[in-house]
């Protein structure tokens, strides 16, 4: 591992000031960063430890109309919160079904959103990888690409966005608050935080160097209670998604008034499936409607060999999530 300087930031201003230096990385739980530093894939020269920022960044503030999550809230802290359990079951599911309890005790919500892909060619330094070394090529295109994405891919990179929590946030129209620039913090829709790989897969999000996520805001909608996450993986627990679906529904009898749909395990970024939402809106939700919505969600999917199974698997996962959300008592 490359040597680094370690700085503990007691305040937001101190963190931002430290992060002005080049090659600096914030560290929260460390469960992603320490891993990639150990692998030698990430080589920051300075680590700014943000675990000692004021308590407000580690708090959950839930009311009738909204949910505000500090970026330093731990995954396990959020999954245990009674109001999240009651009003945002989708958020709770995405947390509970992720990683292991030990990791969730460490991992922060902010760090979770920015975790690196698990693409083995990115993790292993001996391979061509445009994300790790821009311009070097992509070993996954013709390689073992079973875990790779079928949506949002490019000729430069087909790496899957690995997280679960992000699918809840993109489905529920969350916003993130970001500190770091001059003046007041800026707020951006969560959907614009991550960037499609395009021909610059090494740029994964829209944060400027040194910017820090401080809060995540989730509005309460009439669909947040009837929300559900279904995650399919190679083993039942402690594994990333092969395919997952996040859905939130507002029903009027059998008819769908509003639908929010996001997909995980199959796309390069947190993926909102608006085409599926359009099929659902205003129609009676039965299995055949769910199938049509799922077909729309994957209409633009581009398989690359080993990962072709993700298209039917992803469709079935979404159908199941929709039908399970329909039968929730909300």
């Amino acid at each position: 591992m490359q040597p680094f300087e370690y700085r503990r930031a007691p305040t937001l201003d101190a963190a931002l000031a430290e992060a002005r230096a080049a090659a600096t990385a914030y560290i929260a739980g460390g469960t992603n960063l320490v891993d990639y530093m150990t692998l030698g894939v990430l080589r920051p020269q300075t680590l700014v430890d943000i675990n000692h920022l004021p308590q407000s960044y580690a708090q959950i503030d839930a009311s009738e109309t909204r949910l505000r999550l500090g970026a330093l809230v731990r995954m396990s802290q959020a999954e245990e919160h009674p109001l999240i359990r009651e009003r945002y079951p989708l958020i709770r599911d995405t947390l509970l079904l992720a990683a292991s309890r030990q990791i969730r005790n460490m991992a922060s919500l902010g760090g979770n959103l920015l975790q690196q892909t698990r693409c083995e060619y990115f993790r292993g330094r001996g391979f061509a990888c445009n994300r790790r070394e821009p311009g070097s090529g992509c070993a996954a295109l013709e390689g073992v690409n079973r875990p790779h994405a079928v949506l949002g891919t490019s000729e430069s990179c087909i790496a899957t966005y690995p997280g679960d929590f992000a699918q809840a946030l993109i489905a529920l129209d969350a916003t993130v608050e970001i500190a770091g620039g001059r003046g007041a913090p800026r707020r951006v829709p969560f959907a614009s935080l991550h960037r499609l790989p395009g021909d610059t897969p090494h740029i994964q999000h829209s944060l400027a160097p040194g910017e820090l996520i401080t809060y995540i805001d989730v509005p309460a909608g009439p669909w947040t209670r009837r929300s559900r996450y279904v995650k399919v993986r190679d083993r039942e627990s402690y594994e990333f998604a092969l395919a997952s679906a996040a859905v939130a529904l507002q029903l009027e009898g059998e008819m769908v008034r509003e639908a929010r749909v996001a997909l995980g395990g199959v796309a390069t970024v947190p993926w909102r499936a608006r085409e599926a939402e359009e099929v659902l809106r205003g129609a009676v939700l039965d299995e055949s409607l769910a199938q049509r919505a799922a077909a729309a969600a994957f209409a633009a999917a581009a398989p690359r060999g080993h990962n072709a199974f993700k298209i039917p698997l992803g469709r079935e996962t979404l159908v199941r999530a929709l039908l399970e959300a329909r039968s929730m008592s909300a």
């Binding site: 891993d35 692998l39 402690y238």
Partner: protein
Amino acid sequence: MTHSVAGAGMSRRTFICAAAASTTALPLPAGARAAAARQTAGSSPHGAGLRSVDLRINHQDYALSLDPRTTLLDAIRDHAGLTGTKKGCGHGQCGACTVHVDGQRILACMTFALMNHGREVTTIEGLSEPGGALHPMQQAFIDHDAFQCGYCTPGQIMSAVACVREGHAHSAAQIREYMSGNLCRCAAYPNIVAAVQQAAAPEA
């Protein structure tokens, strides 16, 4: 993980022994061990890039002088000399390194020791009093033969103690889910679940 500090030609074991000896000597009684640790750290000139880290492990104070790259796991094993905690993968994928920090179970391979400065760490060695009775979870693992090679066992037990304390041991299914972060290559899983159920019973 220790390769960056170990000199060329030094085997892993020689290095570990040297590292352990340079901070604390294993055979010392507990109190003396902590004192030795403090003294060594205090008197050693901090070499280039070394940082002092205070850890309280199993109610003993350790004042360590560490390269910032040292994970909490390597600090516990190679510098505090407590080798009960195991390294399986070093990448968060097996749970062998599970310890408690401020009462919560975490993976010691995924955090730098420096980040845990001033915190209270409990390892498998600190679960029961020296010379005292085994912790009920340790006894339950013996009663149910919940291991074969034993390599994953310290992590399993530390995880299981926390699993019960968190209130996540109410059924076999719940235990399987909340213990999923601890892999066992010998596949002693049914026995592990039975052991956790036994130890959880009085508190359920």
